[in-house]
Amino acid sequence: MSREYEVSFPVKGDNFEDAGKVSVEIKRLLKGHGITGDILRRAAIATYESEVNIISYAQQGNINVRVTDDSISINIQDRGPGITDIEQAMKQGYSTANDRIREMGFGAGMGLFNIKNCSDSFEILSEINKGTLLKILINR
């Protein structure tokens, strides 16, 4: 059966109480659409890290997931400060997270690195003081 599927969820900045809720919902939906195993695991990590980055650094954002017969494409767009040096942000261990964020166990500087590891293709587009767009592609 070939069926395309697309969903979008808004994510509010600084809303740490709900951190991960959108990703849990997306994982459920993907599972319901027959996505399992390593592909599901990678999609879950990529959405979670992106969701937490919106909450940690941006004012608001949106996670869009599109499933086709041969791929899952996840686009995460936010309105926020943008990323000045993308290469540096991608490095494991680099983080600008404040103490409050670190106290909750975020801010290891691993999120973007993890997303890249889980993606077959990964692109970051960012504009200072406007926002950031992550384009993640996972082949099925």
């Binding site: 990590i45 166990g105 975020f106 801010g107």
Partner: protein
């Protein structure tokens, strides 16, 4: 090994999801950095941590952990218990430090 037996052997106290302790445990992961745990823990692991706030629950749901062990006498926040109950993630607590729990767990699971 399931969580019921593990709870007995490690002398853990159960803070939620008593009805979910038949869950099988196949390994463990210890960490307090959420993106480390996201990247490196596995399905059916029990997660050993001292993070007691509610964000741990989403991580365990997404990674399909068997449960969470809070160490060093840390008690889960009320929100954490609420969310873990909704999601069916058992929360277990101990006064022991992570190193000791990890060591004992390793012996129980791999021997």
């Amino acid at each position: 090994m399931n969580l019921t037996l593990l709870t007995e052997k490690l002398n853990l106290e159960v803070r939620c999801c008593k009805d979910k302790l038949d869950r099988e445990v196949s390994g463990g992961y210890m960490g307090d950095l959420l993106s480390d745990v996201m990247a490196n823990s596995k399905k059916d692991d029990v997660w050993i941590t001292c993070q007691s706030h509610q964000n741990v629950v989403a991580v365990s749901v997404l990674k399909e952990h068997a449960g969470i062990i809070l160490v060093l006498g840390k008690e889960p926040d009320t929100d954490t218990i609420e969310r873990a109950s909704q999601e069916g993630i058992p929360l277990l607590v101990t006064d022991l430090p992570g190193f000791e729990i990890a060591g004992r767990l390793y012996d129980l699971i791999t021997v």
